[in-house]
């Protein structure tokens, strides 16, 4: 089966200072494949390189070496992003727009016909439960509502692959539950989801496969059930063991 998302020996270095010496290596030869219909959890401690990987996939950062592909197209080509949806960690959308106007704007970028845009906006606003406030400026929304706006915009093009960067970060328990429900529903619809998270419980509940990243290296990849069977413990302990954290108990 052809992977939807593929990383090949991906290396990213950040150089700073006038002489650009001593580069900081963010990713060290990352290899990863994500297949159609699966929910892939990308976990790791802060600074592990999760967001950098996503930045490369979205074309925000150019890789120093190696390649990244979406649907077999190199991410350097903008067309690679035609069939993906992306939810950033924390974003304040154009405050002066309403959610409906925002979705219409993104739909126009994808070249979605007007009638189809109307249908999708209605459907998405129902999905993220923002129908009642569709004509209110985004600046009046709560943080949880803004995150759901983010989800709606990520889904406007009916993407085959969703890249979610810490989608529940900073949300209250109800907000998290709602986002989790939406991800679950997307899975049921056969979408592929690639998401990074700190919330191991959430990853364990939702994901088919996980990849644990530490210091720019992918330490392990596998099905959650296989990992649990292999290590004879829960995901949290597996994660801590892999990143080399010593538990006292």
């Amino acid at each position: 089966m052809e992977p939807i998302l593929k990383l090949e020996d991906l290396r990213v270095e950040f150089r700073s200072g006038a002489l650009r010496h001593n580069p900081k290596v963010a990713l060290r030869g990352l290899n990863l494949e994500v297949y159609r219909g699966e929910i892939f959890g990308f976990i790791g401690p802060n600074g592990a390189g999760k967001t950098t990987t996503i930045n490369v996939l979205l074309g925000f950062v150019a890789p120093t070496a190696g390649n990244a592909y979406l649907f077999g197209v190199n991410v350097r080509e903008p067309i690679a992003r035609q069939r993906i949806g992306y939810l950033p960690e924390l974003t304040y959308y154009y405050k002066f727009l309403t959610v409906e106007e925002l979705l219409r704007f993104y739909a126009r970028i994808f070249g979605i016909p007007r009638r189809e845009t109307d249908r999708r906006i209605d459907q998405l606003l129902r999905l993220v439960e923002l129908e009642q406030v569709r004509n209110r400026p985004i600046k009046t929304y709560s943080k949880g509502m803004q995150q759901r706006v983010g989800l709606a915009q990520a889904l406007i093009n009916d993407p085959e692959l969703l890249i979610l960067d810490e989608p529940t970060s900073g949300l209250d328990p109800i907000g998290r539950m709602k986002v989790r429900e939406i991800i679950q529903r997307l899975k049921n619809e056969g979408k592929t989801v690639f998401f990074s998270s700190h919330e191991l419980g959430e990853v364990e509940t939702v994901c088919d496969r996980v990849g644990i990243l530490h210091e720019g290296e992918l330490r392990t990849v596998g099905r959650v059930s296989d990992l649990k069977a292999q290590f004879q413990t829960d995901l949290e302990r597996i994660f801590l063991k892999i990143i080399g954290y010593q538990l006292n108990t």
Binding site: I54, N55, G59, V61, R108, I109, G111, A154, N157
Partner: protein
């Protein structure tokens, strides 16, 4: 093109939902009307001073709107992180630059229509004189001049870290060119070497924005500018705008964005 227009549409919405334009328009209208209410020597036919004041306010307001809007576009996208979901769509950085430019330029064009219509009504109501072709030439050249200014400010927004610093520097450059740009050759003649060469070089490199300021023609009721000259100035503005936007793209293309 659809993507560029979509981005431009958001910029236009931003302008008409912000208070800047309305405040400047009301201020212009208010000052003009207060000046117009003054009668000098009991002569109601005096009108040129009013047209001059009105056009000066229009120029100041248009520059303020253009610089203010253009300077914050890309920095605000980065600061509020809206650039990430935008670039995660099939949108290139060239689309973003062109969309932002067109948005600011169209928005300024809409503002200019309102401003010049007001000026025409003020003059027409006083002396029943409607030189529509003059207004067209003046507003068209004004709009072309604004294109160069907006492109310059967008380039500045990618060079200078703070939008306020960019706006201030661009304002100084633009006002400097408008006041002195056309006289730099005269200044160069009076300089010792190598200052004369430097001044001449600046004279040939800067965009001569003073060409686009034809208020005197309108105020003093001079004959229409030759249409080929208007066309030439339009091409000149297009060339400088393209240069600034290309430079902006070269910088933005390599700018790392970390979400």
């Amino acid at each position: 093109m659809n993507k560029i227009l979509a981005i431009a549409g958001v910029v236009i919405k931003e302008l008409y939902r912000r208070k800047d334009f309305y405040v400047l328009f009301v201020l212009t209208a208010l000052i003009t009307l207060v000046m117009g209410s003054a009668t000098f020597f009991n002569d109601p036919k005096i009108v040129r001073y009013l047209v001059e004041v009105c056009l000066l306010l229009i120029w100041v307001s248009a520059i303020a709107i253009a610089i203010g809007t253009a300077a914050r576009q890309i920095p605000a996208e980065c600061e509020s992180r809206t650039i990430f979901p935008l670039l995660a769509k099939p949108v290139t950085r060239a689309h973003v630059i062109l969309g932002k430019f067109l948005g600011c330029w169209f928005a300024c064009g809409i503002a200019l229509v309102a401003f010049y219509a007001f000026a025409a009504i003020v003059r027409g109501s006083r002396e029943a004189y409607w030189p529509m072709l003059h207004y067209f030439q003046a507003s068209w050249l004004h709009w072309m001049g604004l294109a160069v200014m907006i492109a310059m400010v967008i380039l500045g927004s990618l060079i200078f870290s703070a939008p306020s610093a960019n706006a201030t520097i661009c304002e100084i450059i633009i006002v400097g060119i408008l006041l002195l740009g056309g006289h730099l050759d005269t200044v160069a003649l009076r300089q010792p070497p190598p200052l004369d060469l430097i001044t001449y070089t600046i004279y040939f490199f800067i965009p001569h924005l003073e060409w686009f300021d034809v208020r005197d023609i309108l105020v003093h009721d001079q004959p229409l500018i030759k249409w080929w000259a208007v066309l030439g100035a339009t091409a000149y503005a297009a060339a400088y705008t393209a240069t600034f936007l290309f430079l902006a793209w070269l910088i933005f293309r390599r700018k790392p964005l970390n979400a």
